[in-house]
């Protein structure tokens, strides 16, 4: 039932009504022709109805707090409650984004230190915290690449190269920045096809976007050669940091030769995903892109006070990317997380994320599943392919994903990267225990049995959730995107 269906004309959640007594003014009379004619039609419900409605809705979600959630490429790890509490101090929540610097030193100190940590962990020269998610970080990065070439008068560099396994945001970002996208094939072992890359680079190449470990769940071994190839052709190297969790404290993108990167703080730095956001996608740059960083960033004066740096300090900046200062609260959470873990803790993140993935991959192969890249070491995630099961039993990766929900586990990422048929991309993360992983493997083994013996149970799954599979075709054809009725029948 929708909240609108609970609405009754004239009902109020009265505690939320402010008193306009004693204002001594004829309210709104001065607004004349600007006045709205009729109410919008927001729900008219009691406070209890709101609380009960949304508490019950929440119960229909899977979430890290309730289920193992090995969603590949999404790094669904534990989000420490302490980091949220630290970032939610009243003084932080009430701080206006345009408060004067003199009254913002506590907040600015956190941001400044976070910049320092992110620089250190990625091996870059400077960081701007302003991008509001991974995709905006990518935008900032690619826009900087564009600005760099333009500043040099290198106007012919109109192409951005991306490996075919790249995340959808990579090509979408390149286009948003006015570039043409050129895809580079990936070898059967999950590496970039170096020959194809060499053939593709040239004077039109603005840069290459990649992530390492790649979305194939393997470490790109020829990264040095790739970097050299692109750099020699005059292009720059963009690092999509969505997979940073895998190598945190182990390998630094800056050392691999990348010129610019973004990080997904909502993945690696344990900010909850909130059912779709918010995120935060700081960008880090090497020497060449320093002048182009998006504003604002935080600097420190000789006397130790912190101050905003803007266009006056960075005249070549690509500019502002948000109304204020990005997703400030997420930055505070990330800062808190970095302080909790410290350097050593960060190193263990990459280590144990990798341990969990390799252990799980091993156990799943023992249970009869096929790895997409069986000759490779898993990183923080890995891919299994159900091509065999699809062929022999007509059970798809999506069927298995849905069936896992019945076992109380969130499904891994399905059908990504596109180049592996019937694939599941699985990322356990470092915060999950061996027991949880063993439980997942047991569920998969049980499903493997079902695929052979009771395939219908798999293809018609899920059976235990609030709804069965939804009619996506109808959703797109009979578009129903807003509730039009105003009162219940």
């Amino acid at each position: 039932m929708l909240i609108f269906e609970r609405s009754r004309s004239g009902r109020r959640a009265a505690a939320q009504h402010v008193s306009s007594k004693g204002l001594g003014l004829d309210l709104g009379d001065d607004l004349g022709e600007h006045l709205r004619h009729s109410p919008a039609g927001l729900p008219e419900v009691s406070e209890l109805e709101v609380v009960r409605h949304y508490t019950n809705l929440s119960a229909k979600n899977f979430a890290i707090d309730r289920q193992f959630y090995p969603l590949g490429s999404c790094t669904m790890k534990y989000n420490p409650r302490g980091a949220a509490a630290a970032a939610s101090q009243p003084g932080f929540l009430k701080r206006h984004p345009l408060a004067p610097e003199a009254q913002s030193q506590g907040y600015l100190a956190c941001l400044y230190e976070l910049q320092t940590y992110l620089q250190a962990l990625t091996g870059m020269k400077a960081v701007s915290l302003t991008p509001m998610a991974g995709a905006q970080g990518e935008f900032a990065g690619v826009a900087m690449i564009r600005a760099y070439h333009q500043k040099r008068g290198d106007h012919d560099r109109v192409e951005i190269l991306v490996p075919e396994a790249a995340h959808g945001t990579n090509p979408a970002t390149a286009v948003m920045c006015g570039f043409v996208v050129r895809e580079i094939p990936v070898t059967p072992e999950g590496d970039v096809d170096l020959a194809a890359l060499q053939a593709a680079v040239g004077p039109r190449t603005a840069g290459l976007m990649m992530t390492n470990p790649s979305t194939c769940g393997v470490f790109e071994r020829q990264i040095a050669a790739i970097a050299e190839t692109v750099h020699e052709a005059g292009g720059l190297l963009y690092y999509d940091g969505a997979n940073l969790n895998a190598i945190l404290g182990k390998v630094r993108p800056g050392d691999m030769g990348f010129d610019v990167l973004h990080m997904n703080l909502h993945k690696t730095f344990a900010t909850p995903h909130g059912g779709g956001g918010p995120g935060s996608g700081p960008v880090g740059v090497g020497e060449r892109l320093l002048p182009f960083l998006p504003t604002p960033t935080v600097g420190q004066t000789e006397s130790g006070t912190f101050r905003w740096l803007d266009k006056r300090d960075l005249p070549d900046t690509i500019g502002r990317l948000s109304g204020f200062m990005g997703n400030a609260g997420i930055l505070l959470r990330a800062y808190a997380y970095a302080r909790l873990l410290g350097g050593e803790g960060m190193q263990r993140v990459g280590a144990y994320a990798t341990l969990n993935a390799n252990y799980m991959a091993k156990r799943l192969t023992e249970a009869g599943f096929d790895l997409a890249y069986p000759t490779r070491r898993a990183t923080h995630e890995f891919i299994i392919t159900l091509a065999k099961q699809a062929k022999h039993h007509h059970v798809t990766a999506m069927d298995v994903a849905k069936r896992l929900l019945d076992y109380g586990v969130h499904a891994p990422t399905t059908y990504f990267p596109l180049l592996v048929p019937e694939c599941l991309l699985i990322e356990p993360t470092e915060t999950e225990s061996k027991a949880e992983i063993d439980g997942f493997v047991a569920a998969m083994a049980a499903i493997a049995d079902e695929i052979v013996n009771t395939p219908d149970q798999v293809t018609s799954a899920p059976h235990t959730l609030p709804v069965t599979r939804l009619d996506d075709v109808k959703a797109a054809r009979d578009l129903d995107l807003a509730w039009l009725k105003t009162q219940p029948a």
Binding site: H53, N61, R66, K77, P97, L98, G168, A328
Partner: protein, 456 residues
């Protein structure tokens, strides 16, 4: 300390199962030359207790006792239930609702949000949010260029009384695709956009109107909308959602209404929190829905025919269409959508209207009282929503500094944005301000002006 559950024994068991003896061995595909050591800049880990002590100290440092600063982010009362529920683990720690069956809670909530925003703006459809108000506008511009089949142009005409940071953000984003922004200067007296702008609108892809405008004033949206429609330009309204409880919604501007409306959702139950996370909302006429970026939830049925909710029109999105998507947006501001939906549910039509009315009455009261101070007057004529520019007899920046030292943020000094407005202070009042607060403000303002006058 990392949040890693492994005991040493378990780690060893796992390594043995894999067939290696150390975790380091799992990194054997990483060239040795690339292996990093611990950067010295990284601090040692601390306990949650030490973290809380540190952050409490820092947060306290920045506390203010009273604020009249708005300028795009507004201090409203947030009902306690909003974040009690938003912070439930089931909302907080879920991913984007790709697995619809395991995400009906979030999906239905977004559908309800879309409905609320569509109703508030009187437009047909809304998306599930973009980053913030500024980026929502940038996306709307790109969308308008794609959607406008009459004027096939990359020129966007922008009201000059729009939040200047929004203009800056749009420049940074849309110029990469060759869009050109052309700014309409507001009237000196009223601060609103003159209705005789037809020449500029001709051949433009869209006109962007801010309602209320950055100075708090109310532009002649009906006339502007009609002028744009006549010129074949789409109309993009940048609106304050609280104001829409009181003011004419974009869908009802002029003869045929605005085409796209965007805005900053922060006033809907989201704390100021230094500027984010907030949420950008976007809505439009149904005809343009396939050009809208961001996630959209549709109501459909499951295999048994019962209603359910799912992501729809995904062919607009990067994860399906990659380079051909309407935008690169992926992660959006989901949790803030949850908060805004709760806020709007708790307030309802009448509650939101009262918030708007009290804020409106408050700014009028403040301006009247401040006007009693010698040399203080309204900078612009005409009605405002809940914000107003005061003309002071001294530099506004000095006033801000003086008052901030006393724990009061009096507003935004406009000199940094427009040099001729050095003596102008943008002041906001919301329903959170009592008459005492306003009196307090006026007293301190008078003192500050006096103090500055006497030192020069």
């Amino acid at each position: 300390m990392p949040f890693i559950p492994h005991t040493d024994a378990e780690r060893d068991e796992m390594l043995e199962a894999i067939g290696v003896t150390t975790i380091d061995a799992l990194f054997d595909e990483v060239p040795m030359s690339l292996r990093a050591s611990l950067p010295p800049e990284m601090p040692e880990g601390i306990s949650e207790m030490a973290l809380m002590q540190l952050m409490q100290r820092r947060a306290k440092q920045d506390e203010m006792s009273l604020s009249f600063l708005g300028a795009g982010a507004y201090e409203h009362h947030i009902p306690a239930a909003v974040w009690d529920l938003t912070n439930r683990g089931e909302f907080l720690t879920a991913y984007t609702p790709y697995q619809a069956e395991a995400s009906q809670g979030t999906l239905q909530l977004i559908y309800e949000f879309q409905t609320m925003i569509a109703r508030l703006t009187a437009l047909d459809v809304a998306n599930a949010s973009v980053y913030d108000g500024a980026t929502a506008l940038a996306e709307a511009m790109l969308m308008a260029v794609r959607a406008n089949k009459t004027n096939k142009s990359k020129r966007i005409v922008v009201a000059g009384n729009l939040n200047p940071h929004y203009i800056a953000v749009c420049e940074a984003i849309v110029s990469n695709q060759g869009l050109v922004l052309e700014v309409l200067e507001p009237d000196e007296q009223t601060g609103t956009i003159p209705t005789d702008c037809a020449p500029q609108l001709s051949e433009a892809a869209a006109l962007v109107v801010s309602y209320p405008n950055f100075f708090g004033g109310l532009d002649p949206v009906d006339a502007l909308t009609d002028a744009a429609a006549a010129a074949g330009a789409l109309v993009i309204g940048v609106v304050n959602p609280t104001a829409l409880a009181l003011l004419k919604p974009p869908g009802q501007w002029g003869a045929s209404g605005a085409d796209i409306a965007v805005g900053e959702g922060q006033p809907l139950g989201i704390p100021l929190a230094s500027g984010g996370p907030y949420l950008g909302f976007m809505c439009c006429r149904k005809a343009y829905v396939r050009q809208m970026p961001g996630r959209i939830i549709g109501r459909t049925v499951d295999q048994t025919g019962q209603p359910g909710y799912a992501l729809t029109l995904q062919a607009r999105e990067q994860h399906i269409r990659r380079g051909k998507a309407t935008s690169n947006i992926c992660t959006n501001q989901g949790l803030l959508v949850t908060a805004a939906t709760l806020y709007l549910s708790l307030l309802g039509d009448e509650g939101l209207r009262q918030v708007a009315l009290k804020s409106h009455a408050g700014i009028n009261q403040l301006v009247a009282a401040a006007g009693q101070i010698e040399g203080v007057s309204r900078r612009f004529s005409g009605p405002v929503f809940h914000e107003q520019v005061l003309q002071l007899p001294v530099p506004a920046a000095d006033v801000v500094n003086l008052m901030a030292n006393e724990g009061i943020l009096p507003g935004l000094a406009l000199g940094a944005l427009w040099a001729p407005m050095a003596n102008c202070l943008l002041v906001n009042v919301t329903e959170t301000k009592t008459s005492d607060d306003i009196d307090h403000f006026v007293t301190h303002l008078a003192n500050a002006i006096e103090a500055i006058k006497s030192t020069c």
